[in-house]
């Protein structure tokens, strides 16, 4: 099968020594097996994420993503833009759709971009990595690459918010999306069919500014995974991963719990199932070790 190429927008959290660097490690391992080439957008900048709205107005926020998109059009002609981070994907896709459907905004954006010699024409689609997996490969093809089926591993598919709303994955419902469960199944693991917190918000950026309120929600996300017998939680979003993993000690203190639930990315599961080792799969980035998954990686 020919190599598939995409114009890649990794985003700030994926950088070396940043909070989702382990996500990036597993994405590269997964893409290696799938023969996917990710061409990084040269000198990309931050998308403004969710809380950029306070300091930046509409055009200021849209223009941040428009710069990335304009560079992508220029440097990676004919390729779809792909983001791995949920917030990056949301902000970038929103920019494309808003500018494409509003001539005035598009003129304004291009007037600003002209200052730095760029032009944006909304030529490329903006997609999440999960869409690439499901739409450009499909579950069957993804399953063909599995070397170590993750037999007996019970996975709570925590979809969260921003890969699910407002855009979501084509053909999926907002209230009960199934794609993550299907991916889990494709890797030979066992999805929790009745994980009721799969689209519950973890607080997002408010985990920093409103820790008590956010941790109350995170507690429910983890508790429901335990209640339904999960060994591990898997998610497509870097903020979800971080929020649900790193505050478990604090939540244990506040709520007298004994949580120690590993939280990985879909790409971590896939890398391990595809035969990649501990480090290549980003398992060394787990603050709460994914012990059961590690056993598959060591096989």
């Amino acid at each position: 099968m020919a190599k598939k190429q995409y114009s890649f927008y990794p985003g700030c959290s994926s950088e070396k020594n940043a909070s989702a660097s382990n996500y990036m490690t597993s994405v590269h391992a997964m893409c290696d097996v799938l023969d996917v080439q990710l061409n990084e957008i040269p000198d990309w900048n931050c998308c403004g994420a969710s809380v950029g709205y306070a300091g930046g107005g509409e055009l200021e926020r849209l223009i941040l993503s428009a710069r990335n998109l304009a560079i992508s059009e220029q440097e990676h002609k004919g390729q779809d833009v792909v983001a791995t981070c949920a917030a990056c994907w949301l902000a970038t896709r929103e920019t494309k759709e808003r500018l494409e459907s509003d001539n005035q905004l598009m003129r304004d954006a291009n007037q600003a971009l002209a200052e730095i010699g760029l032009k944006y024409e909304a030529k490329q689609n903006v997609r999440h990595m999960v869409e690439v997996l499901i739409e450009d490969f499909g579950y069957d093809k993804l399953g063909e690459k599995v070397k170590k089926p993750l037999e007996g591993l019970k996975v709570a598919g925590y979809v969260g918010c921003q890969t699910n709303r407002p855009f979501g994955i084509d053909g999926e419902s907002y209230e009960n999306p199934k794609y993550l469960d299907k991916l889990v199944e494709t890797m030979g693991a066992e999805p929790l069919g009745n994980y009721d917190k799969k689209v519950q918000c973890c607080g997002g950026a408010l985990a920093f500014s409103e820790p008590e309120k956010s941790q109350a929600m995170i507690k429910d996300i983890i508790e429901s995974a335990y209640d339904h017998g999960a060994d591990i939680i898997a998610t497509p979003c870097p903020v979800c991963q971080m929020n649900v993993e790193i505050y478990q000690d604090q939540i244990n203190k506040t709520y007298s719990k004994n949580f120690k639930m590993p939280v990985v990315y879909y790409s971590t599961l896939m890398s391990v199932a595809y035969g990649k080792g501990h480090r290549e799969s980003g398992l060394d980035g787990q603050i709460i070790p994914a012990t059961k998954l590690e056993k598959f990686a060591a096989k």
Binding site: C12, S13, E15, N17, A18, S19, A20, S21, N22, D43, W44, N45, C46, G48, A49, S50, V51, G52, Y53, A54, G55, G56, G57, E58, L59, I63, L64, R67, D108, A109, Q111, A112, L113, E115, I116, C161, Q162, R165, P166, Y174, Q200, C201, G203, G204, A205, L206, F208, S209, E210, K213, S214, M217, I246, Y247, D249, Q250, D284, G285, Q286, I287
Partner: protein
């Protein structure tokens, strides 16, 4: 014979009309127009049918003094100060539940962000609201070099409620920070060596121009 044939009627009509105009002026709802003109997606506020699905769908719904549908009604009732000084919009986690569930497809998340931004722009946003503070730090952080520096952002966050609270928060967060460093998901080097974008000057220029364009479109109220 028209109705101003008698001098007394003419005078009465004039004074009534002047009085009416004054009363109408007093109750004219400029705020709805202001929101329509100046707030991102503000033209949608009129379309809210007050069903309350947004309030019921919000993960932090119980933390909002005024849930979105109430904010919409307050805008229509001209409660400018109460809306713009409210901390409600700052409770938005950007989960987009309200958007996908709104029967009339109002872009509620965007309107809430837009209102928060507008309040901030006018200097009316509650100064010590934690998400406002954090969000302003975030914007400052990302626009300085073009990319987020998670280390400096984290440290500024811990100290946002003063030095003593900062030390307390930093100590509370220390185990989390250390485990992030241990797993190479954070590096103290970020304090001194964060390169950001090569085109950071371009980004400064770009944002300056975008703000200029946006400011020029703002209507005065």
């Amino acid at each position: 014979m028209n109705d101003t044939s008698k001098p007394i009627d003419a005078i009465r009509k004039m004074s009534m009309s002047a009085g009416n105009t004054a009363m109408i002026e007093r109750y004219r709802n400029h705020f709805l127009k202001e929101v329509t003109d100046n707030v991102e997606e503000g033209e949608w506020v009129n379309m809210c049918m007050q069903c309350g699905v947004c309030a019921g769908s919000c993960p932090l719904g119980n933390a909002w003094a005024h849930p979105p549908q109430e904010i919409f009604m307050m805008i229509r009732a001209g409660k400018r100060e109460e809306v713009l000084t409210s901390d409600s919009m700052w409770m938005c986690t950007s989960c987009y539940n309200c958007i996908v569930r709104c029967p009339r497809k109002l872009p509620i998340t965007h309107i809430m962000h837009g209102l928060a931004r507008y309040a901030e722009r006018l200097g009316l946003a509650p100064k010590n609201q934690p998400t406002r503070k954090f969000a302003m730090m975030f914007w400052d952080n990302i626009t300085k070099t073009g990319r987020a520096n998670e280390v400096t952002l984290g440290i500024r966050l811990y100290f946002m409620h003063g030095f003593v609270n900062g030390i307390k928060t930093a100590l509370k967060m220390l185990p989390v920070g250390l485990s992030m460093i241990k797993t190479k998901r954070m590096s103290p080097l970020g304090l001194v060596a964060h390169s950001g974008c090569k085109g950071k000057n371009d980004i400064t220029k770009l944002l300056k121009k975008a703000r200029e364009i946006e400011e020029a479109r703002m209507k005065k109220y």
